[in-house]
Structures are given as C-alpha cells and as structure tokens.
C-alpha cells in the first residue's frame, strides 16, 4: 500500500467504484448556502516574512505586566525539561494510540498521567484528560445524573462562572437541570457555599438531586466546607463532585478523603503555560464504582501474548465511537500533549517540590494580603484561603483599568466576572504564586494605594456612598504614607522608593 497522497487516477478509480461522478456529490446533503466555496487566503510569504508577521502579532500581547491574575489559570515556574521533552517528535506529533503495538510510549505516558492524578485526587480511575476544567466539570456533573438516574444537579456559586456556564450548556442540551447553591452573605463563613441552603435544596422530595458540585478552593479563593457538603449530598442520595486546583492538592485534602465520588479540575497549573487561555487540561477522576460512567479515554496496563508488560486503551466499549448515541459523552479524544506536560512537570518537581510550590504561593499570598490591606484594600471575606482572595477596592473596575495602564494586572475585577452579584461590585480577585516576588507585591500595593487616594481626591461618581469599605480599609498605623497629589508622583515612582508599601 502506497502512503503518498492520492493521485488523480486514484481519485477517479475511487469515484468509479462508489458510482459517483465527483467528490462534490458526497456533500449533496449540505445546503448549498452552507457549503464552503474557495479559501480566499492572502498570497504566500517567505518564512522570514511570515515569522515577522507573527512576531508583530505576538508583540500585541502584554508580557511586561506585573500580574496578580488567577481566576482559573495560574502563573507557575515551568522547568525547561518540560518543553524539551514535549518537543520530541515521538510526542509532539503523535496522534491517538489506536494501535497499541506501535504506541506503547504514548500509552505509557497517559498511564503515568492517570496514575499521578490518581495519587493526587485519591481516586481509583482517572480519564486520559478532557478539553479543560470547565468541560471536565460538566462531564462530572453529567456522570452523577447517569449514575443515579436523577436529572437535577446542584452547583455552588463558588464554582468558576465559566464552569457553571459550560455546565448549563451541557445540561440544556440534555434536558437536565442545574440549580445554583448560594453563597453565605455575611459572618465568618461569608463567601463560602451556604450549607443550610444546600440542605434545603436537597430536601425537595419532588426534585431529587443527582449530584452536588463544589470547588475547593472556590473561585473566590476560599476554602470550602467540603466534608460537610459531601455528607449532606450523600444523606440525600446524591453524589459529591469536587472541583479542584491540582497544585493545591499538594497541601489540601484529596477529594477522596472527604467523600467525593468524582473529582474534576483544570490541569493548567501543572507545567502548562497560560497561553492566553489554552490549550489547557481537563482533569476527571472517579471512584471505581463509576468506572463505566466516566467518559473519555482510559489507558490500562496488561500483558501481551509473550507475557511482557503492555499498555492499551481499555474499556473502549464505553466510548462514543462504539456506543454512538448511547455513549456517556461525545468525547473521543484527549489533551495528550498537555497531559504529557503535566506528567513531566509532576515527575520532575516531585511531591515535595509540588508541596513547596503550593506553600510558597500561600506564603506570598499572605504577604500580598498584608500589603494590600495597608494600601487601603482589605479582604472581602474573613475565611481561610490558600493563595487567592478578593479585596475590597472602591470603583474596582475603573481602578483595575488605571492600574493596567500603569503596568499592573490587578487580578480580576469581580464586577465583570459576576455582574449579578452586587456584593462583588467593588472587588478585585487577586492571587500570588511561588513566582510572585516581594518587589512585585510592593509595586502593586504602591500603585493601588495611589489609585485609591486619587480616587478619593477626585470624588469619582458614587464614591461618597461607599463608606464602609473605605473606612475599614484605611491603613491604621502604617508609617510614612505618601502624601497625595503631585508630590506623590514626584516622590513616588514605582517599587523600591515608595514609602508605605509592603514590607
């Protein structure tokens, strides 16, 4: 069999064999208006010209920013070994390992990925990965419906808004219902999932719940009462789905330990660059009892006819190409290269290294909290966090824009992420990781203090109404506050020379 492209004679012979005159006839079912005509591309360029064009495009990315943005994707140091191994031709261009005989390397890396995620989550079964954390969460929620034969899922508002939207999209198509569990409004548990509300929602006898989905840490960075939420879910006959951030699993309890049957999350923090939003890595894992419900590829270890260890895709009859409309999902692929990056990262950094990454991030975040509070932006919620939290900033979206102009990416303005929640209107979601430096914190805190002061001076519309936050955030006893007004600009500048910044 020749492996070159089809010749015109090949095509003619094939057309004749199936009895049609031209390839176009194969697309007759598609309405003419929807059929693609020609691809109108610009003329070809030399490699140098093209590289130049792409470089100019890339330069539109801001890579100079001091960034405190998290909200689902996190800056981490990625050792060079990850990229170097990814670039190997055997990995970089390998496709789906349908033929185990010639794909043992690929299959083994997926098996290792599954094994490591199994250790991290405490789960028995890990899929070969999904598109991203949002789709993995949606799939996890759908699993609970299939397993319990119930059609209603409860999702905490502490789960990332994008994940909730994706889940609703999946559920809408499947005629299932996803109801949101509210967050506690005030008190020591403010911002976390409202367990009393959850219990009430679970108690509806006419609308039994298949699964309860809670994220830990939550989108707002808070640690959630997972064990209690799990108990409530189980008491009502529902399954418990935990949405996790993988680096945090080095220091936080594994989902299996607090009773979750399903764990899902975003694997980007494990050695995958931010890359403007993707490609990322959907993690999905479950207990053994749900192995036939979990969608996605599964790689298993077995022996070949000669008794040697071998890896294969296993439990294939679950999958879409065999079960068709009865499959658990239309998924028929995985994020192989990203899963490989995560595996290399985890293997090279090791469990102790990963714990250091998580702990360092937490330590930096504590420094960040102090610095921002002194700058006039105290935390919005009182509860514990790992490395991400919300701070109260008057006129947060405007301050965020102004800080961006000064080269500081001040996290996420929560008003844009959660426009329906007025309590988050004047808040920024910020995070720190092991790569955040004390200098960066100082730059941020100084610039933020300046912006808050200027805001106060200029009396931005509605600012007079925002009494509480400002008063609470007024830095008490911080020596050497920079005077506001033109003097501040002259005396200040960024970073080192600013007084009243973080120490």
């Amino acid at each position: 069999m020749a492996y070159g492209p089809h010749t015109s004679q090949d095509r003619a012979a094939m057309l004749q064999a199936i009895g049609i005159a031209s390839v176009d006839e194969l697309f007759a079912d598609i309405p003419a208006a929807l059929r693609a005509s020609e691809l109108r591309l610009p003329p070809p360029e030399s490699e140098a010209e093209l590289a130049d064009r792409l470089r100019h495009l890339a330069e539109r990315n801001r890579v100079d920013l001091v960034s405190f943005l998290g909200a689902g994707a996190y800056r981490h140091f990625v050792p060079a070994v990850v990229d170097q191994l990814l670039l190997r031709g055997e990995f970089y261009t390998a496709y789906t390992p349908y033929q185990p005989e010639i794909s043992q390397g690929t299959l083994q890396t997926i098996y290792e990925y599954q094994s490591m995620m199994g250790e991290m989550t405490g789960m028995d079964v890990v899929s070969a990965s999904h598109y991203d954390g949002a789709t993995a969460t949606a799939e996890g929620a759908l699993m609970t419906c299939r397993a319990t034969h119930r059609e209603r899922v409860l999702v905490s508002r502490g789960v990332h808004p994008h994940y909730r939207q994706t889940l609703c999209t999946y559920f809408g198509g499947a005629d299932r219902v996803a109801d949101e569990i509210p967050l506690v409004a005030d008190g020591p548990a403010a911002g976390t999932t409202d367990l009393a509300a959850l219990e009430r929602m679970l108690a509806d006898p006419d609308r039994p719940v298949a699964g309860v989905v809670v994220a830990n840490p939550s989108f707002l960075g808070l640690l959630e009462p997972m064990a209690q939420a799990g108990r409530l879910a189980h008491a009502a006959g529902a399954l418990f789905v935990s949405v996790v951030e993988p680096v945090s699993l080095a220091v936080l309890a594994a989902p299996a330990s607090y009773g979750a049957e399903i764990a899902c999350g975003e694997g980007q923090p494990l050695g995958i660059p931010l890359a403007y939003g993707g490609p990322y890595l959907g993690i999905l894992a479950c207990r053994e009892a749900l192995v036939r419900q979990i969608p996605g590829r599964l790689v298993g270890m077995t022996t070949d006819v000669d008794g040697r260890r071998a890896f294969v895709m296993t439990l294939r009859a679950r999958e879409q190409d065999i079960r068709r409309e009865k499959a658990s999902s239309n998924i028929c692929t995985n994020q192989a290269l990203c899963a490989l990056a995560a595996s290399i990262y985890m293997a090279s950094i090791g469990p102790h290294g990963l714990r250091d990454v998580a702990a360092l991030g937490a330590a930096r975040a504590a420094e960040l909290e102090r610095a921002l509070a002194e700058a006039g932006a105290p935390r919005l919620h009182p509860g514990p966090y790992l490395n991400e939290f919300a701070v109260r900033v008057p006129n947060a979206p405007e301050v965020h824009r102004r800080l961006l102009a000064r080269g500081v990416l001040a996290g996420l303005a929560l008003a844009e992420a959660e426009p329906d929640d007025p309590s988050l209107a004047d808040a920024l979601l910020v995070c720190a990781t092991e790569v955040t430096t004390a200098d960066e914190i100082e730059v941020f805190a100084w610039a933020l203090r300046d912006e808050i002061e200027q805001g106060r001076q200029l009396s931005l519309p509605g600012l007079a109404d925002r009494g509480g936050g400002r008063a609470a955030g007024h830095p008490a006893g911080s020596g050497g506050r920079v005077e506001s007004g033109p003097g501040a600009e002259a005396a200040g500048g960024r970073g080192r020379h600013a007084t009243g910044g973080a120490r």
């Binding site: 009859a317 065999i322 009865k326």
Partner: protein
C-alpha cells in the same frame, strides 16, 4: 435449546417457571457479540415494558441493548455475571441467565417466537 423456550427477534430467550420468567440472550447473540466483558442489568423492583431496552451487554468490540421479552417486575438478577460475564458466552441458556421477571401478562410469552421460528430467523440472519 429446550423445547419450552421462547425467543425474541432481538435474540433474548425466555423460560417460564410458575409465575416467573427467566431471561437471557441466546448462543447466537453471544457468538455475534464475541467475548462479553460486562452486563448491565435493570435493578430489582424495576417494572419492565415488553420490548423496551432495559440493559446492556458489552463485549470487547461492541455494545448491544438488552430488550425485555415480556412486561413485568424484575425479582432477581444474576449476580454472578458481575465477576464472570464470560458465563454468557460459555453457558448462555444456563449459568449465563440474566433476569427473573414476574410475568405481568402470560399471553405475551405465547406471542414470542418458538423454537422453529427462531431457528428460521437465525438461518436467515
């Protein structure tokens, strides 16, 4: 194959034991499917409607629905099949049985294919 067995067009077999019916799939079906690795059966207590898809038989290469040959309540399922699905291949009419159903309407059994009709079906198949 016992003479008192009845069959469906989807290759299930039925034997009557008093007011209960035992159900499984035929050797023809098992052979078509290949090595069976998993059998998903309806839970005890579930009320089945004749010819509805009530379970799944999964082999290494394919997945096939299990259809209820008659209406009735599931009173017992073969627990052995969880650990030993290969019983369906090895002894489809004996140890590979799948369900015991409390017959809702005895006439439904009479309406199924008899031995000769089923053999005809598999010859043509």
């Amino acid at each position: 194959m016992a003479q008192d067995q009845r069959y469906t067009k989807e290759h299930e077999w039925v034997r009557v034991e008093g007011d209960l019916a035992i159900v499984g799939i035929t050797d023809y079906a098992a052979h078509q499917l290949g090595d069976i690795v998993f059998v998903e059966l309806p839970e005890i207590g579930r009320v089945l409607t004749q010819f509805a898809a009530v379970g799944v038989v999964e082999s290494v290469k394919a997945v096939s629905d299990l259809f209820a040959p008659i209406s009735g309540e599931v009173v017992e399922t073969n627990a052995e099949l969880a650990a030993r699905p290969e019983l369906v291949n090895g002894d489809p009419f004996g140890q590979g049985w799948m369900l015991r159903i409390r017959i809702a309407d005895k006439s439904q059994v009479d309406g199924l294919l008899d031995q000769a009709a089923y053999e005809q079906l598999t010859r043509e198949g």
